[in-house]
C-alpha cells in the first residue's frame, strides 16, 4: 500500500516538474522515489495485510513481484534518459512509465476482479500512448493503433469473462469465488467455465501467447526501442504475475476445466515463437518473437501450480527481464548509430566495443538457457515443476523449442565476431557502462546462486 502511495506521488510530482522548475533534477527524484518504493515494498515482507475491504492483499507473492517490477523500472530509468533528447517529452514519458508501474503493482496484489481490471488498464493505456510516442514515424503510429484496437478487443473478452463469473458466483472477490468453486465439489457450472475461458483469452493476449500473439511483433518493432524494452520486461512480468495469481489463488480447484487449454496454448506459443524467430532478419523483431516463446515457457508454471511453481515463475521472470533489458540496451546504442535494427548492424562489435559485445553474449546465452547463466536455471526450475505434475510431453516440446532458440541466439553471437571493414567505435557513456556491467553480473550471479531469488517464495 505504501508502495502504491509513493509511486503515485512520484508520478504526479513528475508532471509538476516543468511548472515548478526542477526539470533537471527529475531523473534523480524519480530514481530516489523508486528506491523509496522498493524499501516500502520490502518492509511489507511477511506482513500479509489486507486493505480496504479485501480489495488488495500484500502477501509475499505480491511483494516479490512488485520488487522485481521496481528493480527493472529502475534499470530502465538508468538506461533510457539519453534517448529522449527533448526535456519536455521526457517529463511525459517518465510520468507515464511511473503510472504504468502502478498498474503493474496492482496486478501483482489485487484481491478483487475489479482491481485486476483496473491494474490491466492502468498498465495498458500508458503503453498505447508510449508505443505511438514517436509521432513522425509511421511505424510507431501503426504500433500504437494496432496495440490499442487489439487490446480493446481482448479487454472485451476479459470483461465478458468477469461478468459470466460474477453471474455464476455472485461475487468479484477472489476468496468468495474460490469458496464457491470448492463448494461445488467438482460439479462446476458451465457459466463459470465459460467465464474462466473468456478471462484466459484476455490474459493470454496480454502475455502474448499464441494464437493471440499477432500484435506482438508489429507493436514491438514499431514502438521506439526504449519503450519496447519496457514492454517486453515490466509489462510482461506484471501480466504474468496477474495471470498466475488469478489461476493459482482463484481457479486452482477447477483446474480440470482449463488445464488442457493452457497446455495447448503453451505448446503452440513455444513452437510458433521459436520457429518464427529463426526467420527474422531484424534483431528487434527477433527479440519480439523470442519474448513470445518465453511466454510459452512461463505458461508452464501456471499449468504446474505446485509448490515449485511460484518460485520458478518469479525466477524465470527475473532472469528473462534482466537479459532482455540488456539486449535492448545494446540494440539502442547499435541501432542509433546504424540507423536500422538488422542483425547485420551487430557485425564486428566484438572488436570495436568489447564491453557491448560481452554484455550481448551474456544476454543471448542467458536467453538461450546455457549454463551457468540465469536463463538455464530459470528453464530448469520451470521444467522441473512441470515434470513433477507429469507434463512430460509438454516438457519435451519445450526442450525442442529451446534447442531451436539456441540456433537463433547464436546467430547474434556469431555476427558479433564477424570481421567488419569500418571501425566506427560506438561511444558509450559511463552510466551506460555501469548499467551493462551490473546487468551482466546479475545474469551471472543469478546463474551461480539461483536460490537467491527462486528460494524466497
Amino acid at each position: 500500500m505504501n508502495t502504491l502511495i509513493i509511486l503515485s506521488a512520484v508520478g504526479v510530482l513528475a508532471l509538476f516538474s516543468e511548472m515548478l522548475n526542477f526539470k533537471k533534477a527529475l531523473g534523480a527524484i524519480i530514481l530516489l522515489g523508486l528506491v523509496g518504493a522498493f524499501a516500502a515494498d520490502v518492509m511489507a515482507w511477511n506482513t500479509n495485510r489486507h486493505y480496504y475491504n479485501e480489495m488488495m492483499v500484500v502477501d509475499n507473492f505480491s511483494v516479490a513481484f512488485t520488487g522485481l517490477l521496481i528493480v527493472i523500472t529502475f534499470l530502465w530509468f538508468i538506461m533510457s534518459p539519453d534517448f529522449f533528447r527533448e526535456p519536455s517529452s521526457r517529463i511525459d514519458h517518465f510520468a507515464l512509465i511511473i503510472f504504468a508501474l502502478i498498474g503493474g503493482q496492482l496486478m501483482t496484489s489485487y484481491n478483487n476482479m475489479l482491481m485486476l481490471f483496473l491494474g490491466i488498464e492502468i498498465l495498458s493505456i500508458p503503453m498505447f500512448i508510449l508505443a505511438g510516442s514517436n509521432k513522425s514515424d509511421l511505424k510507431s503510429n501503426e504500433a500504437a493503433l494496432k496495440y490499442f484496437l487489439m487490446a480493446a478487443f481482448a479487454t472485451g473478452f476479459l470483461l465478458f469473462g468477469m461478468a459470466l463469473i460474477y453471474g455464476a458466483t455472485g461475487s468479484f472477490q477472489i476468496q468468495n469465488i474460490t469458496q464457491f468453486i470448492k463448494s461445488q465439489q467438482g460439479n462446476i457450472p458451465v457459466m463459470l467455465v465459460a467465464g474462466i475461458l473468456m478471462m484466459l483469452v484476455g490474459l493470454a493476449f496480454k502475455v502474448s501467447a499464441a494464437p493471440f500473439h499477432f500484435w506482438t511483433p508489429d507493436v514491438y518493432t514499431g514502438s521506439p526501442t526504449v519503450i519496447t524494452a519496457f514492454m517486453s520486461t515490466v509489462v510482461k512480468t506484471a501480466a504474468f504475475a496477474g495471470f498466475f495469481r488469478l489461476f493459482s489463488m482463484c481457479f486452482e480447484s477447477s483446474s480440470a476445466t482449463w488445464a488442457n487449454t493452457i497446455w495447448a496454448l503453451s505448446a503452440l506459443t513455444i513452437i510458433i515463437g521459436n520457429v518464427t524467430a529463426v526467420y527474422q532478419t531484424s534483431f528487434k523483431r527477433m527479440l519480439a518473437y523470442s519474448s513470445i516463446s518465453h511466454a510459452g515457457y512461463m505458461l508452464m508454471a501456471i499449468l504446474a501450480l505446485n509448490q515449485y511453481a511460484q518460485g520458478s515463475i518469479l525466477f524465470y521472470a527475473t532472469a528473462y527481464s534482466i537479459s532482455s533489458i540488456t539486449a535492448f540496451a545494446v540494440l539502442l546504442l547499435v541501432s542509433h548509430l546504424a540507423g536500422n535494427d538488422s542483425i547485420e548492424s551487430f557485425n564486428g562489435l566484438a572488436k570495436k566495443n568489447p564491453l557491448l559485445a560481452f554484455a550481448t553474449v551474456l544476454a543471448m546465452l542467458s536467453l538461450a538457457g546455457i549454463p551457468p547463466l540465469a536463463g538455464f536455471f530459470a528453464k530448469y526450475y520451470i521444467f522441473t515443476a512441470a515434470l513433477q505434475q507429469h507434463y512430460t510431453g509438454l516438457v519435451i516440446i519445450a526442450v525442442m523449442g529451446s534447442l531451436i532458440g539456441v540456433y537463433y541466439y547464436f546467430r547474434i553471437i556469431i555476427a558479433l565476431f564477424k570481421s567488419e571493414n569500418d571501425d566506427v567505435v560506438i561511444p558509450v557513456n559511463n552510466t551506460f557502462k555501469v548499467f551493462l556491467v551490473v546487468t551482466s553480473v546479475a545474469a551471472l550471479l543469478l546463474g551461480i546462486m539461483p536460490q537467491l531469488v527462486a528460494g524466497i517464495l
Binding site: N53, M55, L96, F99, I102, I122, G170, S171
Partner: protein, 165 residues
C-alpha cells in the same frame, strides 16, 4: 409484462446492433448504435438499476455518440469509402465468430435459471445505495481509477501537442 418488455428490448438491441455492422453509411451505423444503447438502458431499468440507465444514456447516447459523429465528420466518411476487405477474410471472420457463438450458446443453453446468484434486494440500483457501496466498499478502486484518467489525460496532451524543434 416484464417478460414481454425484455423480449422486445432484446430483439431491438440485437437487430440494431446487426444494422450497425451491416449498414454501409457510417452515419446510419451511429444512429443504429444509439438505438442499441437505448435498448440496453431499458434492460438496466428492468433490472432496477435506474441510476445506471440514466448514466448510460447520458454518457453513451450523449457524449460518446457526439464524439463518434464528430470523428466521422472530421474524416469526412460519407458513403462507401470503407476499405475493401478480401472475401476470404470476411468468410473466415464469419466462420470463427459463428463458431464462438455456437459454442457459447451450446454451453450456456443448459444453465439452470437459478445459477445467477440472487440479487440482494430490489432497491440495489438506487443512487443512495450505489453511493454507499462505491465510497465504502469500493473506495480504493474509485481512487485508483483517478490514476487511469490522469495517465489518459497526460497521454492525450502528449500526443496532441506540437514537437518543439
Amino acid at each position: 409484462m416484464v417478460q414481454y418488455t425484455f423480449y422486445f428490448l432484446s430483439f431491438l438491441a440485437i437487430l440494431s446492433a446487426l444494422m450497425v455492422v451491416v449498414s454501409k453509411n457510417p452515419v446510419h451505423s451511429v444512429l443504429y448504435l444509439i438505438i442499441t444503447f437505448f435498448a440496453i438502458a431499458g434492460h438496466y431499468v428492468l433490472m432496477n438499476a435506474q441510476f445506471l440507465a440514466a448514466v448510460h444514456i447520458i454518457v453513451y447516447a450523449g457524449a460518446i455518440m457526439v464524439l463518434f459523429l464528430y470523428v466521422i465528420m472530421m474524416l469526412n466518411l460519407n458513403a462507401d469509402v470503407e476499405p475493401h476487405k478480401s472475401k476470404w477474410l470476411k468468410f473466415a471472420a464469419t466462420i470463427t465468430g459463428g463458431l464462438l457463438m455456437i459454442v457459447l450458446i451450446g454451453a450456456l443453453r443448459n444453465v439452470s435459471e437459478n445459477a445467477a446468484a440472487g440479487l440482494p434486494g430490489n432497491d440495489i440500483g438506487l443512487v443512495k445505495n450505489l453511493g454507499r457501496v462505491l465510497f465504502n466498499d469500493y473506495a480504493l478502486p474509485f481512487e485508483v481509477s483517478s490514476i487511469l484518467f490522469l495517465s489518459a489525460m497526460v497521454g492525450a496532451v502528449m500526443l496532441g501537442k506540437k514537437e518543439i524543434k
